[in-house]
Amino acid sequence: MSLVAGAFSGVKRLRGGWLAAALLTGLPGAVRAGACDALALGTLAGAERSRWEEFDARGGSLVRERGTLAMAGLRAGGHCSALDWEAAFSRSQGTRGYDGVSSTQQALQTHSRLRVQALELSAWRPLGAGWALGAQLGHHQVRRDIAGSGPVLGYAERFDAAQAALGARYQAALGAGLRLTASGWLGGGPGGRVKVDLPNAEPAVLPLGSSRLAALALQLEGGEPAQAGWSWQAALAYRFEESRAGAARPLLRNGVPVGAALQPRTVQQHLGASAAAVYRF
């Protein structure tokens, strides 16, 4: 984790966001100019090992969750002017084991049900010799329903956060109709929000702290890249994401303060494998 964290030191998150936006905003113009070649559409399925940890202000662990999520998604891509682009939507769901503490600091084991939706828009500018630089904008929504255990009450929450990242990609042909692509992203985002539905208070929206992310992917693709028809892809992907603690907000019941809550620092790690079928028009 420290290696990943260290990799962020040279990246200015805000600047990266603007660069990503600038790159991506070139796409509509290219599309209008009719400079785009054939569209490729794909569907993917896979699974990911998901790990979620929360830490208090002193760095103490509050919660550790681990589990496997099933993933499915749609993907569209193409080439416009000097840019490769891709839009991807994925949905993951499953259950994670929960090992943490209650609000009264009692050890607790339970589980949480997850439903994750991610929308990502990426653009790559080839540099030659297989290399490309890219930018990405994404929005992630996580619905997390933590089950209660005995007298400890569970509740549901929904996270929404947007992020931007800059990346590098290298592609190499491994043989006839077989290519290997390695890519990496570094980025982050402003604070998102989480809506919590606590059992003894009215629903509340808590701010999230700013986030940072790192992602690596290795993809094997079969098929002729410039020809219409079907091709296949197999990928391994790793994603690290950290959100700083958000500010505390009061909790109300019938307008009366009954407590307060904040979203602590959260670290997510996902390691996934997927396969995709792609049709190029």
């Binding site: 209650s102 609000s103 997390r144 509740y155 989480v194 003894n200 009954v258 307060a260």
Partner: protein, 339 residues
């Protein structure tokens, strides 16, 4: 025979303490308040259509017997004002051990010891065993001073005192009678989200004939709870507050009957006060909430709110804003919406 506080009475006392502190503060009977130097009651609050549900909620949650001390899983870090209660509960069980640690045969001995708190800070205990027998007797006491004492993820400062007022029998076995007074001296708890400061006294007494046959009483002359939820300040005060709970055998379990009477002031209604009176005891038999009972809450200029338990899951809140004896506004609520 050395007396040790057992889990059963301690649990009962804890529940009583919880109710009182959740209420915000309290004092003994109204007649005791002046003698004990309780603050003057706040001006009566006008009960209106805008605040009567909140008033009912505050009155109900001020009654310990109705409040549940449920905890939550951690997704967000959630805090409330219950830490001081839990701290008092945990320490009450240690009283016998502290008295036991006092030197034997030293009449009137005062034993002072400082313990490190798990996670940081210290807790200094000053235990006083009046007759030096190492047992829990009337008049024995302990004063705890917390100094940045880490407790269940929060930081405590201030004082908590426990004094045994009377004891008949052995709390290890039925029957017995026990009365204990808790004193909160600027005792504060600071968490990541909430800061709460408690001040005042809370007298608890129990007449336990069997596990399912007990009478519990709580009185407080002055007890206040000042909380800061994120940046929102919230204060509660009980005056002339008394609560009784009676457990009566019913089959293999028991029936609980509870009353509460006293004055409550809360920042939920402008730091003004209301008077709570139980018209019919709240009775529950194995359910989470009472299935019957009625509470009358009186405010300024004869305004009243009446709260009636219609079932173990629902209640009816009625408002007589102009004090003419007619409840012109009513709304049904679920217990879970208020507690």
């Amino acid at each position: 025979m050395r007396a040790a506080l057992t889990p059963l009475p301690l649990a009962t006392l804890a529940a009583l303490a919880a109710s009182a502190l959740l209420a915000g503060c309290g004092g003994g009977s109204g007649g005791d308040s002046a003698a004990l130097g309780a603050p003057a009651p706040a001006a009566p609050a006008a009960l209106t259509a805008a605040n009567y549900v909140a008033v009912a909620q505050e009155a109900l949650s001020s009654s310990s017997y109705l409040a549940s001390a449920a905890s939550l899983v951690t997704g967000a870090q959630v805090g409330d004002a219950s830490t001081l209660v839990r701290f008092g509960q945990d320490q009450a069980g240690k009283l016998a051990g502290w008295l036991n640690a006092a030197p034997a045969q030293a009449v009137g001995v005062v034993q002072t010891q400082t313990e490190p708190c798990w996670g940081g800070g210290t807790l200094t205990i000053r235990a006083s065993d009046l007759n030096g027998n190492g047992q829990v007797d009337p008049g024995d006491s302990a004063t705890l001073t917390a100094s940045n004492c880490a407790y269940r993820g929060e930081t405590l400062n201030g004082q908590l005192s426990l004094t045994v007022d009377s004891l008949a029998g052995d709390p290890d076995t039925f029957p017995y009678k026990l009365a204990v007074t808790l004193g909160f001296g600027q005792l504060s708890a600071q968490s990541a989200t909430v800061r709460t400061v408690g001040n005042g006294n809370l007298a608890l007494s129990i007449d336990a004939r069997a596990a399912n046959d007990q009478s519990l009483a709580l009185r407080t002359s002055s007890l206040s709870l000042s909380s800061t939820y994120a940046s929102t300040r919230y204060d509660k005060t009980l005056s002339g507050y008394a609560s009784t709970s009676t457990l009566s055998p019913a089959g293999s379990g028991y029936t609980a009957s509870t009353t509460v009477n006293g004055t409550l002031s809360s920042s939920a209604f402008g730091a003004k006060s209301v008077v709570i009176e139980t018209l019919a005891p709240f009775v529950s038999s194995g359910q989470a909430h009472p299935g019957s009972g009625r509470l009358l809450i009186s405010g300024a200029a004869g305004s009243k709110v009446r709260v009636t338990a219609t079932s173990a899951s629902a209640l009816l809140i009625e408002l007589d804003a102009d004090g003419n004896g007619t409840y012109e506004t009513a709304t049904p609520k679920g217990w879970s919406e208020l507690l």
